[in-house]
């Protein structure tokens, strides 16, 4: 890295400190630690692409362009402080993160959104049970790994693991409803 780049990075970190309270590298790493995430998972919850998250963390880019993402960062900061001092359990935190992910326009990333969520509280509860059971057995990253291993030979099973173990609740509900008959 040459001197000009170092200057730019330092300036970006300074801007981040004034906008977000601290450089985003430090801020995101704390969220990752407190909430038991990895970078890919944090990017997914925030609705950022992995390369964008990496640019923000390294100071190659200063500003979070999407205001909806800024709101999710704030919500996650609150959640992580609650998780850090034990006010919310890991399971509750996982559930809250799903909600944060969907908040403020997060649904635009859904490929095939269903409108079935209305009037289906029982389906939702069943789906949540399956999700939390899976996630209590294994972390989302490991589930994705397992799904990738299975995918060539057992695509349906891999899909099941991915949807319930690492997908959005809406996606899991859609999956559940599609397989009810």
């Amino acid at each position: 890295m040459d001197a000009a780049q170092q200057d730019a990075t330092a300036r970006a970190r300074e801007l981040q400190r004034s906008w977000y309270g601290e450089p985003l590298g430090a801020l995101f790493r704390r969220l990752i630690d407190d909430l038991g995430l990895n970078q890919a998972r944090l990017a997914a919850v925030l609705g950022l692409s992995a390369p964008m998250l990496s640019q923000l963390m390294s100071g190659q880019r200063a500003k979070i362009g999407n205001p909806a993402v800024v709101q999710r960062v704030q919500a996650l900061q609150e959640l992580s402080s609650q998780a850090a001092d034990g006010r919310v359990s890991a399971a509750e935190a996982a559930e809250r993160m799903e909600e944060i992910k969907k908040s403020a326009g997060g649904s635009v990333l859904n490929t095939t959104q269903t409108t079935a969520s209305t009037g289906a509280p029982t389906v939702r509860r069943v789906v949540r049970e399956i999700q939390s059971l899976l996630r209590s057995v294994s972390a989302a990253g490991d589930i994705i790994d397992a799904a990738d291993t299975l995918a060539p030979t057992h695509p349906e099973l891999a899909e099941f693991l991915r949807v319930y173990g690492a997908g959005r609740t809406a996606e899991a509900v859609a999956h559940y409803e599609a397989h009810q008959n």
């Binding site: 950022l48 692409s49 999407n66 205001p67 635009v108 859904n110 490929t111 060539p152």
Partner: protein, 373 residues
């Protein structure tokens, strides 16, 4: 070594998921290049199969990503496409939020240009939405749109095969007449383009139902952040009655170009938009020149018969693989350590084959890793 599909396409890693199937990066052993492949169950593949047979050869357009060939294996069908690495418009909005109007005009102009080519072949896309509009990984250069996912596309005027076609599509990007089950027609795609335009300018998914209600009292005022000349064009695309809309993508495109000229120049404070390469590095065992292969010390390649030259589908060779090139430029060095064993047998000159029929085969003992080329 990954599973080889139909004796030709070696699955490398999953790179995305659509509504009904997974999208993989695959190595095409015949053409010796990486491509994207959508793997569908046979029962989900009819529309696409018909599309490929009838249209793919003809819709060869820089802003369209249509499946170029297909291959069938057991109960699955694989469709290949250029490998496009820049993510979709949904990713772009996730990263940047609302986009500058001039940038949006560039994206829309390309989208309409691609759509005009699709419509010229009599095809109604029917599922235009941000997640189906992909981008080449052009970095900070001019963006390059690829309209993709012809999974529910129909040829205008042809009878629909199943009742299910009525309800297919994505809630929220439906034109009102599409919701009422009218025959698919080109203006329905234009309505969806109008919604995509609003999504790009506002950073969130527009409420189509609310918009349709608003239009009942005449054309509403431009939403915040949407310049008036541009709104005139978008509002026309969003007319609830298809009779009031642009009739053709080309017509909409002309109006858009005129509106673009009236937009203010980009500000110097505008955030720099970079379309990232979303494809990760190649996994272990694969390099820019393809997979590293194992060969048996004796009797190797007895299976390398002429099957490699059997054509598996129609339309191969459409497109130039520009996406592939861009993606690779960022993949970085992939470690290729040959095994510790001694002299390595160079691969024979005939095209190597991995006929694995049933899932991944374990590496046979007494083999050594050699680079594929």
């Amino acid at each position: 070594m990954g599973e080889v599909f139909a004796g030709r396409y070696e699955l490398v890693d999953p790179i995305g998921r659509g509504g009904v199937g997974a999208v993989w990066r695959v190595w095409d052993h015949r053409r010796r290049r990486y491509v994207a492949a959508k793997v569908l169950q046979q029962r989900d593949a009819h529309t696409l199969l018909r599309f490929v047979r009838e249209q793919a050869l003809r819709i060869d357009h820089p802003y369209v990503l249509a499946p170029a060939s297909w291959a069938a294996d057991d109960d699955k069908v694989l469709f290949t496409m250029d490998l496009v690495g820049g993510g979709s418009l949904a990713h772009l909005i996730g990263d940047y939020g609302p986009l500058p109007p001039r940038y949006v005009c560039t994206l829309l102009d390309q989208l309409l240009s691609g759509l005009a080519a699709v419509h010229a072949e009599g095809v109604v896309h029917r599922d235009i939405k941000p997640a189906n509009i992909l981008l080449e990984a052009t970095g900070t250069g001019r963006p390059h749109v690829r309209l993709s996912d012809f999974g529910i596309a129909l040829t205008k005027g042809e009878p629909r095969l199943t009742e299910a076609n009525y309800v297919m599509g994505t809630p929220g990007y439906f034109a009102p007449e599409q919701m009422m089950g009218e025959e698919p027609d080109f203006p329905a795609d234009l309505f969806a383009v109008g919604l995509v335009a609003l999504y790009l300018l506002s950073g969130h998914k527009p409420d189509a139902d609310a918009l349709i209600k608003l239009f009942e009292q005449g054309v509403p005022n431009a939403p915040t952040g949407v310049p008036e000349p541009l709104w005139q064009v978008i509002a026309n695309l969003l007319q609830p009655d298809p009779e009031d809309r642009f009739r053709t993508a080309t017509g909409a495109r002309k109006a858009l170009l005129a509106a673009t000229e009236m937009l203010p120049e980009p500000g110097i404070d505008d955030e720099m938009i970079e379309v990232f390469d979303h494809l990760g590095p190649l996994p272990e065992g694969f390099g820019p020149e393809g997979p590293f292969r194992t060969i048996r010390r004796a009797g190797a390649d007895t299976k390398a018969d002429t099957k490699a030259d059997t054509d598996t589908g129609t339309g191969t060779g459409t497109g130039t693989g520009t996406g592939t090139g861009t993606a690779h430029a960022h993949n970085g060095p992939t470690p290729q350590p040959p095994g510790p064993q001694g002299p390595i047998t160079p691969p024979p000159s005939e095209p190597p084959l991995f006929l694995s029929g049933s899932g991944s085969t374990p590496v046979p003992s007494g083999t050594s890793w050699v680079p594929f080329l």
